[in-house]
């Protein structure tokens, strides 16, 4: 009794360990993410680039960089390009993933080798994006194997210049994005579907629901949080689309800049190390991404309440 009176705290507080364990994250985050972000905001107000080996600036120009981006820089066109290519890839991706996830989680189908197929569909994601783009570049080159095949089959007389048409180039990029990411999305959706209480499915079956009714009435509504998550991550990833179109079009975003994404545009400013303009563009991207994330977060929260 006496001893416990001297050592006052009956239970030891572990809260300090919580903070200690958080230190590495916050210090790394501050050094590598937070400080660079603040300095990006700061630099976006300056004219600062290299002309040859001469440094121009840094000179404070206020919001000039932003004004220039909106009035001269075709910002909307590149945003549109990015979103169009994202949608072209995302729609088939979500449909195929839903179908595959439904099949893989359906206990009545008794599919064999699911482990094998799950690995296979995830495979494209393991290839480096640049290597994947290079592969497509070679496959669909004007004298590449795909054209050879088409010509030998007699489907076309002259080789098709895939990369020279807007629809061709955008489709190739969308297709690569689809191939790279549908496996990942399938795994996520499967996780979501397996989290749904099996009793619900059984009850529906007992009540005589068709597979489609089960899917649309039970699986889809209960999958909505996961769907929202998939959607947001894919949208943010889509806005940052860079490596595939950059490599496929050799940095040109051709034809007629219709596959130029926002980040490719940002990258163009680094030719002259134009930190001011690139900073301003980054800030705009940050705002767009942030706004979209908040929007989806709100939607998710509302779902939980209801």
């Amino acid at each position: 009794m006496k001893a416990s009176k001297v050592r006052k705290p009956k239970h030891v507080s572990y809260t300090k360990w919580g903070y200690i364990f958080l230190i590495p994250f916050f210090s790394v985050y501050a050094v590598f993410s937070f400080i660079p972000m603040i300095s990006t905001f700061y630099y976006s107000f300056f004219e600062n680039f290299m002309s040859g080996l001469k440094m121009i600036g840094p000179k404070y120009v206020g919001l000039d960089n932003f004004v220039k981006l909106f009035t001269e820089g075709d910002l909307l066109k590149y945003t549109e390009n990015t979103l169009i290519m994202w949608v072209m890839g995302f729609v088939p991706q979500i449909l195929v993933s839903l179908l595959l996830a439904a099949w893989f989680t359906n206990t009545r189908l008794k599919l064999k080798f699911t482990g094998f197929f799950k690995t296979v569909i995830y495979m494209p994601n393991l290839i480096m994006a640049s290597a994947f783009a290079m592969l497509f570049f070679t496959l669909f080159a004007n004298n590449g194997p795909v054209n050879m095949m088409l010509m030998n089959l007699g489907l076309t007389k002259e080789s098709i210049h895939f990369m020279s048409s807007t629809i061709g180039a955008r489709s190739l990029i969308a297709m690569m994005n689809f191939l790279m990411w549908f496996g990942n999305t399938t795994i996520l959706l499967m996780a979501g579907m397996m989290g749904i209480d099996v009793a619900l499915f059984e009850a529906a079956e007992v009540d005589g629901a068709t597979p489609w009714q089960i899917f649309s009435g039970i699986t889809m509504p209960l999958l909505r949080p996961i769907m929202a998550y998939v959607m947001v991550t894919s949208l943010i990833g889509g806005l940052q689309m860079f490596d595939l179109p950059q490599i496929l079009t050799n940095g040109q975003g051709g034809p007629d800049r219709t596959t130029m994404t926002l980040i490719m545009y940002l990258n163009n400013h680094l030719f002259s190390k134009n930190y001011g303009m690139a900073g301003a563009l980054s800030v705009i991207l940050f705002v767009i991404t942030g706004a979209l994330s908040i929007l989806v977060f709100k939607v998710l929260m509302r779902q939980r309440e209801s």
């Binding site: 590495p24 590598f32 940095g251 007629d256 800049r257 163009n268 680094l270 134009n274």
Partner: protein
């Protein structure tokens, strides 16, 4: 205890993954510095050189200053490296240095970005990591020669005017700023038109260079022959960019006037001609350096000819003409021997490589010897031409070969040095500007889409201006 170990491990794992994530997020901004530090470490790895050879070298070397042990040479392909290894390797032993080539490809400006970062970090770099020498091309030579980073080859490096007197004047003019020559070149790069002899016989009835030259001596005649080629099932040119240099080297004014971009009438001629050729099927719709373009120069090609300057003939065309790249280059391998050269419709030049000594180098004596050996020494330069068919920057040596019975087997026994010697006199580089590389590239790339028929000419021009202003924010339309 165990728990502590586990938590330590977890912290470590967490830290590592977070750092890995940062690599993606920081991305674009950090990449250029990462490049330069990577280049720096690669040279640092070579810095352990035994000191014994230095002492002996110091005795017979004329230099009294102590030399650094590592010479870092920045370049974009292995052309200079192979020249160095063939003709100047003994200099390294003489000076007791280790030569380290830092090779970064030219694409997307990577070479210049890397070099710029290295030069700007020159003062802070360790002596063995400093840039000692770097190579530049005609298209962006003035960017470096106008800066302080390139040393005066006479005043600072120690070559004499007498050493340099045999060089072609234009190779000196282009790199001379305020009366100081800031770089020196081992090659002169007059351009010629290289044609397929077999196709010339089939279409023009002759493969004699003089008669072929008479048939394509100006652009009107050139266009007429192009039509004949098409009628017989051949292409006049391979692609869009082939004739670009022949036009762009004969412009009447530089690319940029003050800060305003000026599109020269001669470039408009190039656009008009190429569009015409493309629509009529006179070319094979390839782009420069693409695999299709290279294939057109090989055994299966149906293209009459290519505009090529000196290095292009011995370095690029020869390689592309072979059926088996690993077999010996001789008649019978692919179309070796089926090419001939003539002057073509307009004299022009293309490319050219200059050597610069970098400010802050600690290897001046070695650089002086190397520059002398590669760019001033008549015997070495003559030998380079005889061995490699490259055209070196020494008028006396070249005239000797031009007037000798020298023959190139690759060109069907023709003495092409004679033609080069004629063409080299006509080179005029007075209209180059600081922006040539970026603007030439952007102009060609934007116009490709017009040739392909994806956009009209006005849109292509707009895209060119956009791209130009992204590259050089200070320029105006």
């Amino acid at each position: 205890m165990k728990k502590k170990m586990v938590s330590l491990f977890l912290i470590a794992a967490m830290g590592v993954t977070m750092l890995a994530g940062c690599g993606n997020g920081a991305g674009t901004a950090g990449s250029s510095t990462a490049d330069s530090s990577a280049a720096g470490t690669s040279s640092a790895a070579d810095s352990s050189v035994s000191g014994s050879s230095t002492e002996t070298a110091a005795a017979d070397s004329s230099a009294s200053v102590e030399e650094g042990k590592v010479v870092n040479i920045y370049c974009w392909n292995d052309e200079f490296k192979s020249r160095y290894e063939a003709y100047a390797k003994d200099l390294a032993d003489k000076h007791g240095v280790k030569v380290n080539f830092v090779i970064v490809a030219n694409d997307n400006n990577a070479y210049q970005n890397n070099l710029d970062a290295a030069l700007q970090g020159q003062d802070a770099a360790a002596t063995d990591d400093k840039v000692d020498m770097f190579l530049i091309e005609a298209d962006y030579a003035s960017k470096y020669t106008k800066s302080d980073y390139a040393l005066d080859v006479v005043g600072d490096v120690g070559l004499t005017q007498d050493d340099l007197k045999d060089q072609y004047q234009y190779t000196k003019d282009i790199v001379t700023v305020d009366g100081k020559q800031k770089a020196t070149s081992w090659q002169a790069t007059p351009g010629l038109f290289a044609y397929r002899r077999s196709i010339a016989k089939a279409v023009l009835g002759t493969d004699d260079p003089d008669k072929v030259q008479a048939a394509i001596g100006d652009w009107d005649k050139f266009n007429t022959v192009a039509k004949e080629m098409k009628d017989k099932g051949y292409f006049m040119l391979s692609g869009y960019d082939d004739s670009f240099r022949a036009f762009s080297n004969n412009v009447s004014a530089p690319w940029v006037n003050g800060t305003k971009i000026v599109i020269d009438p001669n470039l408009e001629k190039w656009v008009a001609q190429t569009k015409d050729y493309t629509d009529k099927g006179y070319n094979n719709k390839t782009t420069l350096w693409s695999p299709e373009w290279s294939a057109d120069q090989g055994p299966d090609g149906k293209v009459f000819g290519f505009f090529y300057s000196t290095w292009g003939i011995n370095f690029t065309l020869l390689g592309n003409s072979l059926a088996d790249a690993n077999a010996e280059a001789k008649v019978g391998n692919g179309i070796f021997g089926d090419y001939g050269v003539c002057e073509g419709p307009q004299p022009y030049y293309w490319g050219g490589t200059w050597l610069c000594a970098a400010k802050g180098t600690d290897n001046i004596p070695f650089i002086k010897d190397l520059m002398y050996r590669m760019t001033c020494d008549k015997d070495t330069m003559k030998q380079i031409t005889l061995d490699t068919q490259d055209y070196t920057n020494n008028q006396t040596a070249m005239n000797e070969i031009a007037n000798s019975d020298y023959k190139s087997d690759f060109l069907g026994g023709q003495n092409h040095i004679k033609l080069f010697a004629e063409a080299a006199k006509k080179i005029d580089m007075s209209n180059i500007s600081d922006y040539d590389q970026g603007l030439n590239e952007a102009f060609q790339q934007s116009m490709h889409e017009y040739f392909e028929g994806n956009v009209d000419e006005k849109t292509a021009l707009d895209n060119f201006y956009k791209s130009a202003q992204e590259k050089y924010p200070e320029l105006e339309k």
